[in-house]
């Protein structure tokens, strides 16, 4: 047997006038975890979509176990033992978990057989899941598990994971990456697309770094250093990692003054009558960042939306300023209208209360200023939001919400799925907003982000909100419902 499970040689791919990949190469050895590092837009996902048959390369060869292959579609890739877990969910929301997993199969569907096979697979891999739940009812973390089970159900020899940990809690992410290792131990190969350096160094055997569509570094993880990888990823525009991550900026914090957002004994029931938030009380003052930590599905979703005035409380007293900026987790769906221009998307803030006519000229000017001030890279304000990269979309949303609301900002996983530069920019903006006197609430599934940004931390566990020390130990304990002695 050939010891290279998947080899991509000199792959080139353009979309219209943009070149996504320029002679990119990758060689994943059998029985290894191979990390692909690179900033957003470096071509990581495009390269793997070519390996998975979703895109056809303009030039270059794909070898599986040494044989040249070309995949006309994902099903051809699956037939050759390649499976992919996508960054954005590709599940049918109205279907059950079993139906979604069975969707990739052929021939007749035997619901009971499919269900028992799924349960067996879930047991074997340790991804606990309710096979009869509808996907739309599941939290993001559980949907991610369904995606992975769906990929594993094809019994792949090469498993491609596209930013799999982006929305998981640290514990879940750790767990998932360890499981990728187990798959490898059975003779498989895992390819991990990530922009988290430390994950790559910790979990991968080999690392390939892409920059602007080309392979710029490849080698063993144990021979790589953080510095070498950072300079490979960023090229000439090197900056110290610490400053990029915006650490310890809380030393410069403004002095805390009056209360801007306040909840007193607030409870929230969801549409099905389940009490998601139980008698929560919280005060957020001007000039402070309150970090919210929670394991997926503990009521933080509702807490953030009550604070942002996006849902009403079932009971209790909510005091909010007239406008609260909100950066929702699913920005593609909840923050932007993809088929409208950037100008129209900027106009969206506050559109619910606007009277009379839209002053499109003034809004266009405001949008142009925003694009400059928040470093949103776009041709002009008339392009559709869908043409922006994830990082630029988020910078636009952050800018719009801060400029619109000024005094209060609620952010939910604001740097999820962004590259180092974009995350740093987003965090810097949030800190700036705080320094200029805004009351800020930030939830992140990345504990590092909370610890580095928050002036004060609260933990939501089973719908209850409690104050907590700003260190990994106390946050980690509180997230699991363990109260300090």
């Amino acid at each position: 047997m050939h010891d290279v499970a998947l080899e991509l040689a000199s792959i080139t791919k353009s979309f219209g006038r943009t070149t996504a990949l320029q002679s990119a190469s990758l060689s994943a050895r059998r029985g290894t975890v191979h990390a692909i590092l690179g900033e957003n837009g470096a071509g990581k996902t495009s390269l793997m979509r070519i390996a998975f048959g979703m895109l056809q390369p303009d030039a270059g060869t794909i070898r599986v176990n040494g044989d040249i292959k070309s995949f006309a579609s994902p099903s051809a890739a699956i037939a050759n033992g390649i499976a992919m877990v996508h960054q954005h969910f590709t599940l049918v929301r109205a279907m059950t978990v079993t139906e979604n997993v069975a969707l990739g199969g052929r021939g007749l569907l035997h619901p009971r057989k499919a269900r028992s096979e799924l349960l067996a697979l879930a047991r074997r891999t340790g991804f606990a899941i309710d096979p009869d739940a509808r996907v739309e009812e599941l939290p993001a973390g559980a949907q991610q598990r369904v995606e992975i089970l769906k990929a594993l159900s094809h019994k792949p020899r090469v498993l491609i994971l596209d930013e799999p940990t982006a929305i998981l809690t640290p514990i879940e992410a750790h767990d998932l990456l360890n499981r990728a290792r187990e798959l490898v131990n059975d003779g498989g190969t895992a390819i991990l697309i990530t922009h988290k350096l430390r994950d790559a160094l910790k979990f991968a055997d080999d690392i390939t770094v892409l920059r602007r569509g080309a392979t710029v570094w490849t080698g063993r993880a144990d021979e790589a250093t953080e510095d070498a990888l950072v300079s490979a990823m960023l090229g000439g525009e090197r900056a110290p990692l610490e400053s990029l991550e915006g650490n310890n900026s809380r030393r410069k914090r403004a002095s805390v003054s009056e209360v801007v957002m306040a909840l007193r004994n607030v409870s929230v029931r969801d549409a099905s009558g389940v009490e998601r938030l139980k008698a929560a009380s919280l005060e957020v003052c001007a000039g402070e960042i309150v970090g919210v930590a929670a394991v997926e599905g503990n009521g933080q979703h509702e807490l953030l939306r009550v604070l942002a005035g996006r849902i009403g409380a079932t009971s209790g007293v909510v005091t909010l300023p007239p406008s609260v900026g909100f950066i929702p987790e699913d920005r593609q769906r909840d923050a932007l209208i993809q088929d409208l221009s950037l100008r129209d998307n900027v106009a969206l803030a506050g559109a619910g209360a606007r009277r009379g006519m839209m002053d499109w000229v003034a809004i266009g000017d405001r949008t142009r200023n925003l694009l400059g001030a928040y470093d949103v890279r776009a041709r002009d304000e008339n392009v559709h939001a869908s043409t922006l990269s994830g990082g630029n979309q988020q910078k636009l949303v952050v800018g719009r919400e801060i400029e619109w609301a000024h005094v209060a900002l609620v952010a939910e996983n604001p740097s999820r799925g962004l590259d180092i530069h974009a995350s740093a920019a987003v965090r810097a903006r949030i800190i700036e907003a705080r320094d200029s006197g805004a009351a800020v609430v930030i939830y992140s599934s990345d504990l590092d982000e909370i610890v580095s940004l928050a002036d004060r931390v609260v933990v939501v566990y089973a719908g209850k909100v409690s104050e907590c020390g700003n260190d990994y130990e106390s946050i980690g304990r509180a997230m699991l419902g363990v109260t300090p002695p």
Binding site: S46, D334, L336, I337, A351, M357, R400
Partner: protein
């Protein structure tokens, strides 16, 4: 009058109800509301306008016309409001409820013209003629072309302007394209906005019914709509849901339907040929749109 002029006049007379109902459908579709019920709303509007037109005292003179049109708008709006209420209260899909309401309107009008609203001799299944004051003025003398066509143009331009430049129009477009972002980022009351657009859509279809009664038929008949509200869907889609585009596609479909009658009379070509051509046009446009969107798949 030359044959060409006669054809143009007939085309514009046919285009008027198609243009106005097409506009109604375009507004609803823009709001993400699948209003298949423009036909029922048209009939409701025609019925209300005929009722006012027949029962208005001659002493109010020309005031009978605006009264009849307003009554048509109100009736069409109410007809749509039923579906809007079912949708927001019981989550009944508007596609189904509006189709059902079309049947109720059609057979309801049938009952009225054979019962309470039938002309005094009780021979024909129609109302008596509306009073002269409710007649739509003629646009070009000695033709059937009436001011309803101009009203259709005005409504289209007004709607285009409102959709593009008013805050309400922007809310409608945002709610239709992405209700999640409209609510979370725009703090828009999406159910209220879409229900409002639904009712306005019904009111405009109702005006179309009123215009038809006051400008062309001067009475309410059975089958007053030969399926205008359904052709309106094609008119709106072909226009890309653009209120100004509806003017062009309305006239195009008006020409096709006029030509269908002429062809059948003079050349023995079945009138259904026009329906075939309409369908081919729609399929062609959808095909081109799909092809374009595939060619412009952007890199991620």
């Amino acid at each position: 009058m030359s044959q060409t002029t006669a054809f143009i006049v007939d085309t514009l007379v046919h285009a008027t109800p198609l243009m106005i109902t097409g506009l109604a459908v375009a507004i609803a579709f823009r709001a993400g509301i699948w209003n298949i019920g423009a036909d029922g709303q048209f009939i409701a509007g025609a019925t209300a306008a005929a009722w006012i037109g027949v029962s208005a005292p001659a002493t109010i003179g020309w005031l009978a016309l605006p009264l009849a049109l307003v009554a048509g708008a109100i009736a069409g709006g109410i007809w749509a409001a039923i579906a809007a209420w079912l949708r927001s209260r019981f989550a009944v899909l508007e596609v189904i409820s509006t189709i059902m309401l079309n049947f109720i309107a059609t057979y309801g009008a049938s009952y009225l013209v054979r019962g309470p609203l039938q002309e005094p001799t009780h021979v024909f299944p129609q109302t008596s003629s509306i009073v002269a004051g409710a007649h739509m003025p003629i646009l070009i003398s000695d033709t059937r072309l009436h001011w309803g066509f101009i009203l259709g143009l005005l409504l289209s331009v007004l709607t285009w302007y409102a959709m593009k430049y008013s805050a309400t129009g922007f809310r409608i477009r945002a709610s239709g394209m992405n209700p999640f972002a409209a609510r979370n980022a725009g703090l828009i009351n999406v159910p209220r906005v879409t229900s409002g657009a639904f009712i306005v859509s019904g009111a405009i279809a109702g005006i179309a019914g009123g215009v038809e009664v006051c400008g062309v038929t001067f009475a309410l008949y059975e089958n007053i709509s030969p399926g205008y509200g359904y052709t309106a869907i094609a008119v709106a889609l072909l226009a890309g849901l653009n209120p100004l585009g509806v003017i062009g596609t309305g006239i195009l479909f008006g020409a096709l339907e006029t030509a269908a009658g002429t062809m059948q009379r003079n050349a023995g070509i079945p009138a259904t040929t026009a329906s075939v051509i309409e369908a081919v046009v729609i399929l062609g446009v959808i095909g081109i749109a799909q092809f374009r969107s595939r060619c412009s798949v952007s890199a991620t």
